[in-house]
């Protein structure tokens, strides 16, 4: 540090400045010495106070000390001949004595006591600097440490909140769909189904949503989406009557995917309505696509509904993504703060659009056809709470690296789901921030990629405005 305090205030006269130097009045806020400049003067404070600080290139400021009357600064650079190692500014109106380098050298030559004192101070400073360096290193290591506890805390809390909230939610869903349901639906093989088809001895009923039915269905099948059963059943009855089919007519229900057997669900409902012979295909719920004559046309993506502010906010990650391409900006901790704020708001918004109606979100999850049936409802309950906590943690600065990892992980899952849906041409909604009218397309992939990069930026460079990080982290390794 380029600043010292003499043993006793007012001892500046002990420096025997005599007629040396030039008196100087410095108003509050004025910078006396700037870090990096070539040293020309040594300063002694007669009255007032100054602050000594260092500043990095990305303008992170570290206050080193404050000095008052009797203190001096600026001697280190004069002794070493190096540029100023710190800046000094007045924090109140100050009166200084400014001594030129030539005068300072003369002063040292004729004042061994002062020279010894400066050496002593420099030595003290080195020892204190080592201590500060060590404590800062420890702090940095602690900041960068994350443990499994961080993840367990965020994910565990999300799960607990999801389950508890679901208990009291009017729109409650079962944790596992169809758990404990009776397996009382008659199953037939695809070959048996084909026999029914050739003999025209059964009505084929497609249990999927209209978009999927229109994309591909068994020739002659009737669509009765299980999710609209109560509404559409009267029309279904009417169509059966028009076809001259009674309730004794065998019904072969098909449809569904890896994530939900809509066929089994619909078959149960039809049996409850008094249909006597309701059957589903055994085994692969999508086997009919390969074995039966089908009507096909290109999947029609849902229309894009204006999402308002949410839609605009979603574009911010793309802008940030472009900023990340600039190396000095990429590493900025201030950018991390913006990333945390934007990502936090987006994920809170994502969460709030899903939390209240998990059944709606579950239908979105099913459409992607990537989650096993037993996990759909659990995932639909858990994900919005993980999004909410992740978003809150990012904004508040709690466990930001863990929160960024979790949010980054979610984005990877979203990107995989979106790309898979695009390649398969699935006529589905994104289910990202809106419940309907949000088609899956490459723009969504781009936005999610932007968010993924934001999460990575936070993980690597976030270090400002964090709340009590390291305060209650369980640490895997000792420091």
């Amino acid at each position: 540090m380029d600043a010292k305090k003499t043993p006793e205030p007012g001892e500046s006269s002990g420096l025997k400045l005599g007629h040396l130097g030039q008196e100087l009045d410095v108003p509050k806020g004025m910078r006396v010495v700037s870090q990096g400049e070539t040293p020309e003067f040594f300063y002694v404070i007669q009255s007032g106070r100054v602050r000594v600080f260092r500043e990095t290139e990305d303008r992170i400021r570290t206050n080193l000390t404050e000095l008052g009357p009797g203190s001096y600064f600026g001697e280190v650079a004069l002794v070493t001949g190096q540029p100023r190692s710190a800046s000094v500014e007045a924090i109140e109106d100050a009166h200084l004595v400014r001594v030129s380098k030539e005068e300072f050298d003369r002063l040292l030559d004729h004042n061994p006591q002062l020279a010894r004192h400066i050496i002593q101070q420099l030595a003290n400073w080195l020892v204190a600097g080592d201590g500060r360096l060590e404590s800062e290193t420890v702090r940095q290591v602690k900041m960068r440490q994350i443990s499994w506890f961080d993840y367990a805390l965020t994910l565990g809390l999300s799960l607990i909140l999801a389950v508890v909230f679901n208990l009291y939610n009017d729109n409650q869903i079962a944790l596992i769909h169809g758990w404990g349901g009776k397996d009382d639906i008659q199953k037939i093989t695809l070959t048996q189904g084909l026999e029914y088809l050739h003999q025209k001895n059964a009505v084929f009923v497609d249990a999927r949503k209209i978009n999927f039915f229109e994309m591909r269905h068994i020739k002659g099948a009737i669509d009765l989406p299980v999710v609209f059963f109560d509404l559409q059943y009267p029309m279904f009855q009417f169509m059966l009557t028009q076809m001259g089919a009674s309730k004794e007519k065998p019904l072969i229900v098909y449809g569904g995917n890896y994530s939900r057997r809509f066929d089994v669900d619909l078959a149960r409902l039809l049996k409850e309505k008094g249909h006597e012979q309701v059957m589903v295909f055994d085994g692969d719920s999508q086997g009919w696509e390969r074995s039966f004559p089908v009507m096909e046309k290109k999947g029609k993506a849902p229309g894009a509904m204006p999402l308002g502010l949410a839609g605009l906010i979603e574009w911010l990650p793309v802008g940030i993504f472009l900023l990340l391409l600039i190396p000095p900006v990429r590493r900025s901790p201030y950018l991390s703060i913006w990333c945390r704020l934007i990502l936090g708001v987006i994920f809170i918004e994502f969460a709030l659009s899903k939390i209240m109606r998990p059944a709606v979100f579950a239908m979105n999850v099913i459409d992607y056809n990537l989650t096993p049936a037993w996990g759909v409802n659990l995932w639909s309950l858990f994900l919005p709470w993980a999004e909410l906590l992740g978003g809150l943690f990012l904004i508040l600065g709690i466990r930001t690296r863990a929160a960024a990892t979790i949010i980054g992980g979610m984005n990877i899952i979203f990107i995989i789901g979106l790309v898979n849906a695009i390649f398969l041409g699935l006529p589905i909604n994104c289910g990202c921030v809106g419940e309907v009218g949000e088609p899956v397309n490459w723009l969504k992939v781009l936005k999610n990629t932007g968010m993924l990069f934001m999460a990575i930026q936070i993980f690597l460079y976030d270090r400002l405005f964090v709340l009590d990080r390291g305060g209650f982290v369980w640490r895997a390794r000792a420091i």
């Binding site: 209209i210 999710v227 509404l231 009267p234 009417f238 229309g303 809170i348 809150l392 009218g437």
Partner: protein, 127 residues
């Protein structure tokens, strides 16, 4: 430290309040009331749709004893009806809210597909 914490809590409170206000949807009052389908449905008479201001809704076919219950909200000037199973029906008010065009595909479409569209007219009366 406490001041910093308070600052963050206030910011968070504002953000969450803002999001919650945005997430609650718009006022249901202009669209609450009784509606009747313009054409009979499934040869079982007309559909009576009753939208209550508290967010509940009922759907009843004249010749069907069952009464189906929904929840509904208004967002971006459109009505969203939620079924128990998680499906969404989007209804678009027309003619100043005197008519509702109900899209039965379960998705949002810029215009209601003819084969899956039911038009309702507002009628007087409480239920």
């Amino acid at each position: 430290m406490k001041q910093g914490l308070m600052k963050w809590v206030v910011i968070l409170g504002l953000v969450v309040t803002w999001l919650a206000v945005c997430g609650c949807g718009e006022s249901r009052a202009p669209f609450a009331g009784n509606y009747r389908s313009e054409t009979p449905f499934a040869n079982k008479g007309y559909i009576k749709l009753f939208l209550k201001e508290n967010g509940e809704a009922t759907w009843k076919l004249e010749q069907d004893p069952r009464e189906l219950k929904f929840k509904w909200k208004v967002e971006h000037g459109q009505l969203f009806l939620y079924t128990r199973e998680g499906a969404i029906i989007v209804a678009t008010p027309t003619e100043g809210g005197r008519k509702l065009t109900v899209d039965m595909t379960g998705d949002w479409n810029p215009s209601c597909p003819i084969n899956h569209c039911i038009t309702f007219s507002k009628v007087a009366g409480e239920s």
